[in-house]
Amino acid sequence: MQRNIPLTIVLVIGIAMLIQFFVPHKISKDIYMNFLDWLGIIAAFALVLGLGSLINHHIDKIQRKREHWPFSWVTLIAIVTTAIIGLFGGMEGKGPLPVQPQFTLGNKLFVIKYSIQTIYDNIMTPLGATMFALLAFFMASAAYRAFRARTFEATLLLIAAFIVMIGVVPLGYYISPKLPYLAQWIMDVPNTASKRGILFGVGLGIAATSLKIMLGIERNWLGGK
């Protein structure tokens, strides 16, 4: 029962939605819109489950003092603080939270708003940008160590990378006005050919996996039962 009911639901709904795609009748469209509503409701339950699971995981980690457990405090405090500010301060800081602190720097007055936008502008944005900016340093170091013309294929890759890297920046135009167009050709032809092959493979893989799930051959989503 525990296995057969979910399998039957997936089979029936999967086939129904497949047929629905090709039926432009109003009833078919209404059913489709209903399913979209259900999707939202199921996702809301998944969000609650996910949050509960995350909190449980970190509480357990703190209690058992597992590796890097102090960072779990950071996660929990961040969740609670963001939730309080989001619920009572809102996106723009117009909620019922206490008086917003003010201070002057030079002639300018600064007001700290209890809002999601304050957290976003002052914590999320600089942290995210800093993390990604570090990538340039590691990429340069990795390119210097690994990009060697050891084989014929590696040499081809190296030449293509050279043309594209210099062709996609304005400096390439000064070296030769044809260089940006050569870089564009590499992207348009050899790159597109290989990407298209990968896309076909991925598309066929998705179709095959979807069929296997619908027919009950692939059951990992049921916990492997």
Partner: protein, 287 residues
């Protein structure tokens, strides 16, 4: 003999310093470089130019986060300037939870740029009449599919908690039929999903703004016409800034164009490092 070995083993701190300086110095002392507009950027610009602003609007999806902001935010700003300069109704949304904050920053900046030059209400960019910020839909796929029949149903409330259907602009923008193009600006494969669900199913045109790293993934879609143009990387953003500012005689910060001198030198520095590594490799191999 030792010099070849040194070329193979340059300390990574030296590499970091070289990359840091090659980014920093041109940012402090920028030099002007001629902008050469490439076909994917031109195609997107022309597609937007062909839209009749009285009949259709544009949907710009800020599908990115602070990590990719330096590369993608200039595209968002340039697209907003282009759309407002043409008098098109503009819808803005974000497919990622981290996107609305950046979209709001961009909208505030561009609307202020336009409004500080206007003298009448008719010329101003007004929320609800000229643009609507839909915010983030918790379930992206359901929202994208639902927008095919009714945008106000997909987003019952906008970012500021107004009832979407009550906004003046939304009376003429009902679904994808009223949208000339959807431009998804993303550092991920999301523009491809827009093609799968919005273009294939509803026939709306899709454009993309992509980081230089993800741009190669979208060339097959450009090639087939499923994507109507693309802004690729910071270079693409600088090309778009150039096209918009030249055609509409606009002023305002152009961060992508300013970043071009820095990016050119950084690319050159990395290429020089690769050449040095290869010289060292071949010299030591011969010995």
């Amino acid at each position: 003999m030792k010099i070849w070995e040194y070329l193979l083993k340059i300390d990574r701190r030296v590499i970091f310093l070289l990359v840091g300086l090659s980014v920093l110095i041109p940012l402090i002392f920028p030099f002007s470089i001629k902008t050469n507009v490439m076909p994917p950027t031109r195609k997107l610009f022309d597609t937007i130019e062909e839209i009749n602003p009285d009949a259709q609007g544009i949907l710009i999806a800020a599908d990115y986060d602070p990590q990719t902001m330096p590369e993608l935010q200039p595209m968002f700003i340039a697209l907003l300037r282009h759309s407002f300069a043409r008098g098109m109704p503009v819808l803005v949304m974000s497919s990622y939870i981290q996107g609305p904050g950046l979209a709001k920053q961009g909208l505030d900046q561009v609307t202020e740029e336009f409004n500080c030059k206007t003298t009448t209400n008719a010329d101003s960019i007004i929320y609800g009449r000229d643009y609507v910020f839909l915010g983030f839909p918790p379930l992206w796929l359901a929202a994208v599919l639902r927008m095919g029949s009714d945008i106000s149903q997909a987003f019952p409330a906008d970012y500021f908690k107004n009832r979407t259907a009550s906004l003046e602009m939304m009376k003429k923008i009902k679904n994808y039929n009223d949208i000339g193009i959807v431009v998804s600006i993303a550092g991920s494969a999301l523009p491809q999903s827009w093609v799968t669900y919005a273009n294939t199913r509803f026939g709306v045109k899709i454009g993309s703004g992509a980081t230089a790293v993800t741009a190669p993934d979208f060339y097959p879609f450009l090639n087939t016409g499923q994507m109507s143009g693309m802004i690729a990387g910071l270079k693409g953003a600088s090309e778009y800034e150039y096209l918009v500012n030249t055609k509409y005689n606009l002023s305002g910060p152009t961060p992508a164009t300013r970043g071009m001198s820095s990016q050119s030198i950084a690319h050159l520095a990395i290429l020089i490092l690769v050449v040095i590594g290869n010289i060292g490799y071949f010299a030591t191999r011969r010995q």
